[in-house]
Symmetry: C2
Subunit: 539 residues, 2 copies
């Protein structure tokens, strides 16, 4: 039997059913590109019949030239109607996706309770829908919902559902543990029994993590003969999530000898997993298997000394195989190699032993020690590297800021910011109000800068995160602020750290504007002699 496994990613569809996961069409396109780069075989983009965001995704993804097959999700036709008049099936075809994931019922209880139709009509719904999509030229992946529960209650019917989909020409028959309640030995037993009833079909597996067994159930299914895995990055998905591809793939490839991704792509798994968590705006748990920052971190004293003798003593794989790294220290210092490779990405040839390289590496280590974190703040990191290379021309300098927040019983809180910066030798003093102190600071700084650098008009803050670093120290603890900014073309992230939330926010804000100005025309300010709020100037 072949060792090749087809990887079907449903982060953009089932993943977004998870609580707190919401992706715009832009976010989905960004993630699709990364998944394609990783080499997954199918990318399920969404439900074209459900909303305009998904329709936009399917339209725009066609222009990206991806290698992965794009697949659109939908249900079998409605009961007692024809497939070719079904609006949802029509939308799948119109989406332009090369493949359709068609979900149908395989548990008799659901046919009666949820669909409220007969077992025969459900079989007809499946046959008609698969056949119609096949006639329309699509590859069809048939997802049998609640297959394992269905098989346990009425094995004959569950098997007949699969047979019907196969007869109609489905390319893949996927067994879904929709409620996530099946045990690994049951998965193995049921698939083995099903296989004896079906020939010449390709089987797939789709599991949920309600019993913390989604990965184990997926492995069980593959060991029983399934050859497609449906799952999501970081295990996002409805309720407790789907099978986590970031664990399934290395288990299959490194432990069980199956082929999922190219070796080189597997070494990007941690990067892609972190990227997806950033775009989804969900913190990645430090202890996430394989790709989490603590997955190869050694804290115990005995462990550390043994690890230093031979890393096989306490590591089940080489972390580099999945793009992760060993950490034996308490502190989480960025490796030199990371910084050098980041510089290379920016087109700077950075010899790790040169004085500017040493300087910036020491500076970054020192900043990380203070609580800065550059994994989510690429623009701040780029500014540090360019600074060390003499590539940053400061177009404004900071002189001072003041924040006033005032609240009187029965009235709304008032927040004001007063910012003084220097542009080309002139002190400029501006005041602004805001919804809160940081918003007021942003408004004040922006007000002055836009007058001098009109390209900044298109820029706005798109994300703001606050993390208390040592929460046990209560209100005197350090705070880390991450800001994401956008213009029409680009987005970038910056970081600030301080015991003072206002100062940390200011740092991240200033870095964001400095980064935006890296590309500004040197003469831009000359084009805008008019100056805002002349009354507030302080020459």
């Amino acid at each position: 039997m072949s060792k090749a496994i087809s990887i079907f990613d449903t982060t953009l569809r089932d993943g977004t059913q998870g609580e707190g996961i919401s992706l715009s069409a832009d976010d989905k396109l960004k993630i699709a590109q990364k998944l394609d780069y990783l080499g997954v075989h199918y990318i399920e983009g969404g439900i074209p019949g459900s909303n305009s965001k998904d329709i936009e995704f399917f339209k725009r993804v066609q222009t990206l030239g991806l290698s992965a097959k794009i697949t659109a999700f939908g249900s079998t036709r409605r009961k007692d109607s024809a497939a070719h008049t079904d609006a949802n099936l029509q939308r799948i075809i119109e989406s332009g996706a090369a493949a359709a994931t068609l979900v149908g019922k395989s548990w008799d209880f659901h046919v009666h309770t949820a669909l409220q139709t007969s077992l025969e009509e459900n079989l007809a719904m499946i046959y008609d829908s698969v056949a119609f999509l096949k006639q329309s030229g699509l590859e069809v992946i048939f997802d049998a919902e609640h297959f394992f529960d269905g098989y346990k209650h009425n094995p004959e019917y569950a098997v007949s559902v699969m047979q019907k989909a196969a007869e109609a020409g489905a390319d893949w028959l996927v067994m879904c543990d929709t409620n996530g309640g099946t045990m690994p030995h049951e998965v193995h037993g049921i698939i083995t029994a099903l296989s004896s009833n079906l020939t010449n079909v390709q089987l797939g597996i789709h599991t949920h993590n309600d019993c913390e067994l989604a990965v184990a159930n997926t492995l069980s299914a593959i060991q029983a003969g399934a050859r497609q895995v449906q799952g999501t990055m970081n295990g996002y998905g409805e309720r407790c999530g789907n099978a986590n591809l970031c664990s399934v793939i290395p288990n299959l490839q490194l432990k069980l000898g199956f082929e999922c991704l190219e070796e080189k792509a597997l070494a990007q798994l941690s990067n892609v997993a972190r990227y997806v968590s950033e775009v989804a705006n969900v913190n990645m748990p430090v202890n996430q298997p394989y790709v989490g920052s603590a997955a190869f971190a050694h804290k115990g004293g005995i462990h550390v000394s043994a690890i230093l003798r031979d890393s096989r003593t306490y590591e089940h794989i080489q972390p580099e195989l999945v793009g992760n790294k060993q950490r034996v220290l308490v502190s989480d210092l960025a490796g030199q190699s990371n910084i050098v490779s980041k510089a290379q990405e920016m087109g700077i040839d950075f010899d790790a032993t040169s004085p500017p390289a040493r300087e910036v590496i020491d500076k970054i280590k020192n900043l990380e020690h203070q609580g800065y974190q550059f994994e989510g703040a690429d623009a701040s990191l780029e500014l540090l590297i360019r600074e060390a290379n003499g590539q940053v021309r400061e177009l404004f300098t900071f002189e001072s800021f003041k924040i006033l927040v005032e609240k009187t019983a029965g009235r709304s809180v008032v927040s004001e910011a007063f910012v003084k910066i220097n542009i080309a030798g002139t002190s400029l003093y501006t005041a602004a109000e805001g919804n809160g102190p940081v918003n007021a600071l942003d408004n004040a700084l922006r007000k002055t800068l836009v007058q001098h650098f009109p390209s900044l008009k298109d820029m706005h803050l798109s994300d703001y995160k606050v993390r208390v670093l040592d929460e046990k120290d209560a209100t005197a603890a350090k705070v880390r602020v991450l800001i994401e900014s956008k213009n029409y073309e680009d987005s970038w992230s910056t970081v600030g750290v301080s015991e003072n939330v206002i100062e940390a926010s200011w740092e991240a804000l200033v870095d964001s504007f400095r980064y935006a100005l890296l590309e500004a025309s040197p003469d831009e300010q000359i084009l805008t002699p008019s100056i805002a709020n002349p009354g507030l100037h302080n020459h």
Copy 2:
């Protein structure tokens, strides 16, 4: 074969090896009480040979009268020495624990590389240490480190290690997958093979989650004949964590028919899991299986309508069996029953249909809709319920506050707060500095209040968390602040929400002081006629 499973909790030992998990002796004692209430059979408290915090735990836990056996962790004696002179073994005995968890090597590679001794000496270390602890009257649980890796490389030696521990009288032989790299089918195969070489021993299983298979491997081991499970609450532990008891226990009991806990105790699992995450100061992932707040939350439209017809359609168990609840709405409104039961805890008989009950339920729903969250803010919730019952006597009222944050290039940032409150008809105006604006506010409010209510002297803030609620709205988004406060006896949590981080912090701060004053003597302020900062008063 018996269906009874012995539950061995190592949250207090292996759990604290996890990154970001740090427990004081007080924290450990609180968690031990909850675990005992749940009915776990063993509580591993720590390593008495390692630090004074653990020694304090073992001393104080004896006064609590717990039913669970307390066990102390340590390694086999040092090579080439005697067990009775071994300082670590001595400390285990001195700890007063009823049981010892003794870890020994079972992988030949580790004996050579980490211990740097002979295979024979390692067997002697195991035999001598087990025998010495048994002679000292302790129950001995032998943890065979890296058992599965050891068995794969040298099965004869791994088996001889187990035989040696059994000969010396060990009560349990526990197979540890220390690096977490073993697959479920390997666990089953190796245990089946081992069992054929051992008779009359009780086997246990200790797994790690490096492949996201710790729960599956534990189930495999039990299905192969093991009868003790070592794991942690919420799966805390070194690197990717240990087997998560919050998933293992319901899987064994509700899915596979084993007996772990009393049914009534199992229905407290979600509460205890959340309590442990609060004490450990780690956010519980919403999608955590069985006990997470999204474990039975339904977002998909089709799912919700089916769930309303019959909850078995999309739920693998009744959530109440593990003390969790179904959530079918988009919003996360506190159920009436929660509020009524919370009131009962406070000794208030709250008929859900009475006008004050209706009023407080509506108010809480409204606040949750605005972003408040009371699961982590019990004191704010108690204040709302007592208010509705006319049980809150306000000892001070808010008049106004001002915050000034000032930063000039090259100088440190300065934060000042000006707070005006009214106590018994007198306006009191105070100023204070702080490390940041919230710290300044805390200092100013505290300065005035302590003068009038000296019992507040013992109170301090112990935790401060900031969460941006809709991060996509950047700096104009809402912010939720959670504050935990402590005095010598008690700790309590309060919440504030606003678009303005300062206002949200102020709300949570004020609630914290109001809660502290609930118990204050009504005449306390008369005892303290002296008034702080007379110059700042505003009569």
